[in-house]
Amino acid sequence: MNSFNSIYNFVSGPLVWLAFIVFIGGSIYRIRNLIILVNKKERFIYTYMSLKYSLRSISHWIVPFATISWRTRPVMTITTFIFHAGLVIMPFFLSAHVIMFHNAWGFSWGSLPEGFTDAVTLIVIICCVIFLLRRVALRDVKFLTDASDYAVLLIAAAPFITGFLAYHNFGSYHFWIILHILSGEIMLVAIPFTKLRHMLYAVFTRAYIGSEFGKIRHARDW
């Protein structure tokens, strides 16, 4: 028990700090490097950037089925929207997370009913399975997929799988909860250093192409 406590305290204490430091620091570092590169070599990008058209583009792409792409592959669209929504909602509104936050910082906010979050977790896991199946079964996606893509998928899926198993006391709760925290931390750390950094860059690439299409090309980009 003691050994669990000390491991738990470690992974939910210093390691969380470390993970956040690496995540935030790494993210800042990545974005900073990108901006430095633009300033050094591609200043012309500023000439063509437009807030209006950046937002026009982003607003279309964050709505399911608002683009030809989303409409063309509906299963993927539904899957990816649910998955990404789950990825954003769960860390902040899962009751256990809110309680932990309250214990640590003394304040909290509303949380979602446990039954609901449990269902969402399961759905997110199913989404990950669909992602996996796409990579295995669709010839075009399979051709593109390399080992790192599976690794990234595993990193993203792990917090949900471990959380689900922990919540349902599957085998050893202690084992799963530590793995859950660890996998969450791995995911945070992985964001700036793997393909998960699309989380950081997507807004910029979308804004840039949205600006080029809106301001210069007078055409839709969705």
Partner: protein, 421 residues
């Protein structure tokens, strides 16, 4: 330079010709050209089906037979009237109604020496190409010429020439070099992958050109000898009129700058540098430059003006003493004149190259505003809005301006005191 002292600087206004009358005499009248001194106006006119002539001050040239084709009508700086014309598929350069003796299969690219005494054309006969100056064609001809040039004194002519024939899609032969430059028809000893825009020095004894050594290495060649350094790209070289050194824009690692005799001349780097110029009087070197993307200005001895224009800067010119520079700056499609970094308040639909008064105190320019043409001096518009005007000319003492204009179809020559602007 043309001597303007003998021109009529006294008569305030002359109506030289009524172009409306021309229009009733001919099937059609093409766009007119005014002589440098303003005393004459001329246009190509159609007299009958496939028959053309040149009409000057209401009077058609007396020619043996009408031209079947005629184009490129221009006045030389010394006031002669030239047209390139054809009859029976034989092309001739016709000067003041008199054809040159030499006949060609085609003529184009009419150009003049500074004083206008030399007239040069590019020529083609039986698929062979050369230049001809004052009715004398080069001895040698080539399968291809381009980028023709004439020295300021008109004594030397040059062009890019193809020295090795290329079959269809012989890309690797091309990449070994099949082009050179020829001076008065004589090619350099060296071939290059490409040769472009070239310039003679002041006395016409040296020729510099842009060259490409392979698909991606650029440099400048002077009299056939390439500089040692290789650049990412280069633009047209010029000779320093006082030192005979060659100055060219070159692209180096961190941007564009100027090089002089293969040494980097300016410490500053730009997004673009071209149309460099040197003042013989002040030795200043200036160029049109972009400080960054879409920010155009003039850089003098490497230092850009503070003012920048979004669209472009063109037609930069030194004042006669070389202390000032004027240019055209364009922002959001509106044109204005900029003098030493200060732009005129007026915004126009088009502006022609600014003209300095002899003492440099005034700048005049032809402008287009709302589809009408007029002249502006130091930012102030002339009170007449005309159908057409030609570029203003200052009197030798700088007190008057020659205004050549067409109003209601009538061509006027006016001499207007600068003070009236």
């Amino acid at each position: 330079m043309t001597d303007k002292t003998n021109w009529d600087w006294e008569t305030k206004e002359k109506q030289i010709s009524d172009l409306n009358e021309w229009k009733s005499s001919y099937n059609w009248v093409e766009e007119p050209y005014a002589s440098p001194d303003g005393e004459k106006i001329a246009a190509i006119v159609n007299t009958d089906d496939m028959e053309f002539n040149v009409c000057e001050n209401s009077k058609a040239w007396e020619i043996e037979e009408p031209f079947e084709k005629a184009y490129s009508l221009r006045y030389s700086p010394d006031g002669r009237l030239i047209v390139l014309a054809a009859a029976d598929d034989e092309w001739k350069t016709v000067v003041d109604g008199k054809p040159w003796e030499t006949i060609f299969d085609f003529l184009w690219d009419l150009r003049f020496s500074k004083d206008g005494k030399a007239i040069a054309v590019a020529t083609q006969t039986d698929g062979e190409y050369c230049m001809a100056v004052n009715d004398v064609p080069w001895k040698d001809s080539y399968s291809f010429i381009t980028c023709m040039t004439l020295s300021d004194d008109g004594k030397n002519s040059g062009s890019v020439v193809q020295t090795i024939n290329l079959g269809q899609a012989e890309v690797f032969k091309f990449q070994k070099g099949a082009f050179s430059a020829a001076v008065n028809g004589v090619p350099w000893d060296t071939n290059f992958v490409n040769v472009w825009n070239m310039a003679f020095n002041a006395d016409g004894s040296k020729l510099a050109a842009e060259v490409r050594l392979n698909l991606y290495d650029y440099t400048i060649a002077v009299d056939g000898k390439a500089w040692n350094s290789i650049y990412g790209c280069v633009w047209e070289p010029i000779f320093h009129p006082n030192t005979n050194s060659v100055i060219a824009p070159v692209k180096v690692k961190d941007g564009w700058t100027l090089a002089q005799d293969d040494n980097i001349l300016w410490d500053s780097r730009f997004a673009q540098v071209w149309h460099q110029m040197v003042s013989r009087q002040s030795d200043k070197i200036a160029a049109i430059a972009a400080t960054s993307y879409g920010k155009w200005t003039v850089a003098v001895d490497g230092k850009p003006w503070d003012i920048t224009f979004g669209d472009m800067v063109t037609d930069a010119v030194f004042s006669p003493d070389g202390t000032q520079i004027a240019c055209i700056g364009t922002d959001s499609g509106k044109y204005t004149i900029c003098n030493d970094g200060k732009a005129w308040d007026i915004k126009c639909d088009m502006v022609w190259k600014p003209v300095f008064s002899p003492d440099g105190s005034k700048i005049a320019a032809k402008i287009d505003k709302n589809g009408k043409r007029t002249i502006a001096v130091n930012g102030k518009l002339w009170n007449k809005m005309c159908d057409e005007v030609w570029e203003p000319v200052f009197s030798p003492d700088g007190s008057k301006i020659l205004c050549r204009s067409v109003e209601d179809g009538k061509y006027y020559r006016r001499v207007i005191p600068v003070s009236e602007f």
